[in-house]
């Protein structure tokens, strides 16, 4: 198929960017979206032009590295997939595809379609961990009985790959879904209760410091999340925060 691509090009963080038009022929439905961009880049390199920079790593939908706002939606029009798993069969011959970087003040553009998502790392570092004695006498985690329902919910929350689609989709560029998933995966388990009060307070504080927006419960994040992280995690974070504020 033949596609008309409108791609955000930006030399570096301090330069202004703009949309550049490309026409790409010979795209097959079985290609992934990133393979389509690979072909575009091969063409650009063969013509002596600068290739389009974009983030990618595992190309299996588990690392959270790929991003891209495709035709106005993070990871494109398909549901529960990352850009690397989005196939070109979702598009039609002659389609125009607008490709932009994830937009948020807390996700500054580094180059072209690559954004700096280290704000997520700093939120994680603020409290997304448990203190475990690793000196050689660590207690086996399986020795602690855990309710099946709680274990399942914690696992569901832990499937967040931190790609940033929630921020990109949210009209407020809010990072509540990401932060709440990271709070929830510990809050639901006994090992995570030890530092529960400090965790939610510190992670929310860091989230606010990074300049993310406020949640207005539109639910866009949940719809666009490639891992199906649920809004119930945000409600849980709100409860945890309220409880932590009362406990001091």
């Amino acid at each position: 198929m033949k596609l008309y691509l409108k791609i955000w090009r930006q030399k570096d963080a301090s330069s202004p960017g703009k949309i550049v038009d490309y026409t790409l022929d010979g795209v097959e439905g079985d290609m992934s979206f990133l393979e389509m961009l690979d072909i575009l880049n091969e063409e650009l390199v063969s013509k002596g032009e600068e290739p389009v920079e974009f983030d990618h790593d595992c190309r299996e939908g588990i690392c959270g590295t790929c991003s891209l706002q495709i035709n106005g939606e993070p990871h494109g029009p398909d549901r529960l997939v990352t850009t690397c798993q989005l196939h070109m069969r979702k598009f039609n011959d002659g389609d125009t595809i607008v490709i932009e970087p994830f937009r948020a003040k807390a996700f500054p553009v580094i180059k072209d379609l690559i954004v700096d998502r280290s704000a997520f790392e700093r939120i994680q570092q603020a409290g997304g961990y448990i203190s475990v004695n690793t000196s050689g006498n660590t207690v086996d985690a399986n020795c602690i009985p855990i309710n099946k329902h709680a274990a399942d919910e914690a696992m569901d929350a832990a499937t967040c790959i931190g790609c940033g689609a929630c921020v990109a989709a949210c009209k407020n560029a809010s990072a509540m879904l990401f932060t709440s998933a990271k709070v929830s995966q510990f809050a639901l388990l006994p090992q995570g209760r030890v530092e529960a009060v400090e965790r939610v307070q510190n992670m929310v504080r860091q989230m606010d410091l990074e300049g993310f927006g406020n949640c207005t419960n539109t639910g866009a994040c949940e719809v666009e999340c490639p891992k199906g992280i649920s809004l119930t995690n945000i409600a849980r974070m709100n409860r945890e925060y309220l409880s932590a504020s009362i406990k001091g």
């Binding site: 993310f212 207005t216 419960n217 866009a220 925060y241």
Partner: protein
């Protein structure tokens, strides 16, 4: 100060003030419905609300503070949220993942705020002038006539009805959303949403019915 600093605290404040206003709406619509079905009860209830010191000097200021907190916090959130995006998208398909009402609460809210200005001018300013500026004697029979006469002009009735439609849209998202903001999302949530959405339809519809009814049934002297 912590209310301004923490994004989650701001959500609680929006939710709590919103829920408080929802309770007020329920009281308001109940008394107003009496103007259709029982003008005498409407006069009695309005007189009680207008002259009871507890209502006038405690509940009324609390209500006004509730309204101010809700819309000021709404503006603060909107400004912060706009800043959080930074450079906007060339193409942003908001309709693909969220309903229109949830994405445009600021606009439905602004219409309601503009309506409140008209509503305050129509009833509250008039009431304050009647009681405290002109110092008229108490007249427990005047409320029904004053209310019906207000809806005589077609333009006012239309403005009220349009505002009630926007109120309905605002409540459609806001009422159920306030529970999520306060951390309530469990097995009861589908029922909470159903109740909240029923409220969002029924209450504005009742307000609109009252306005249209009085417009179509003027007092003939």
């Amino acid at each position: 100060m912590s209310l301004i600093k923490s994004s989650l605290a701001r959500k609680f404040v929006m939710a709590l003030s919103g829920l408080f206003l929802v309770i007020f709406l329920l009281l308001h619509v109940t008394i107003n419905l009496a103007s259709v079905f029982s003008p005498d009860f409407f006069n009695e209830a309005s007189h009680f609300m207008g002259y009871n010191p507890l209502v006038q000097f405690l509940m009324q200021p609390i209500l006004i503070i509730g309204v101010i907190v809700h819309f000021v916090m709404g503006f603060v959130l909107e400004i912060q949220n706009k800043k959080a995006r930074g450079i906007g998208y060339v193409k942003y398909k908001g309709s693909a993942n969220a309903p229109w009402v949830s994405r445009n609460m600021i606009y439905s809210g602004l219409v309601i705020l503009a309506f409140l200005a008209l509503h305050f001018y129509d009833f509250w300013v008039h009431e304050m002038a009647y009681k405290y500026v002109e110092a008229n004697p108490e007249d427990p029979t005047r409320y029904y006539t004053e209310t019906v006469e207000k809806f005589a002009p077609f333009w006012r009735t239309i403005l009220y009805v349009v505002s009630f439609v926007l109120l309905g849209l605002h409540l459609w998202h806001g009422f159920a959303s306030s529970f999520q903001s306060m951390g309530i999302n469990n097995k009861y949530t589908p029922n909470i949403k159903r109740c909240a959405k029923t409220f969002a339809v029924v209450v504005p519809l009742a307000f609109a019915f009252i306005a249209i009814y009085h417009h179509l049934n003027p007092i003939t002297h």
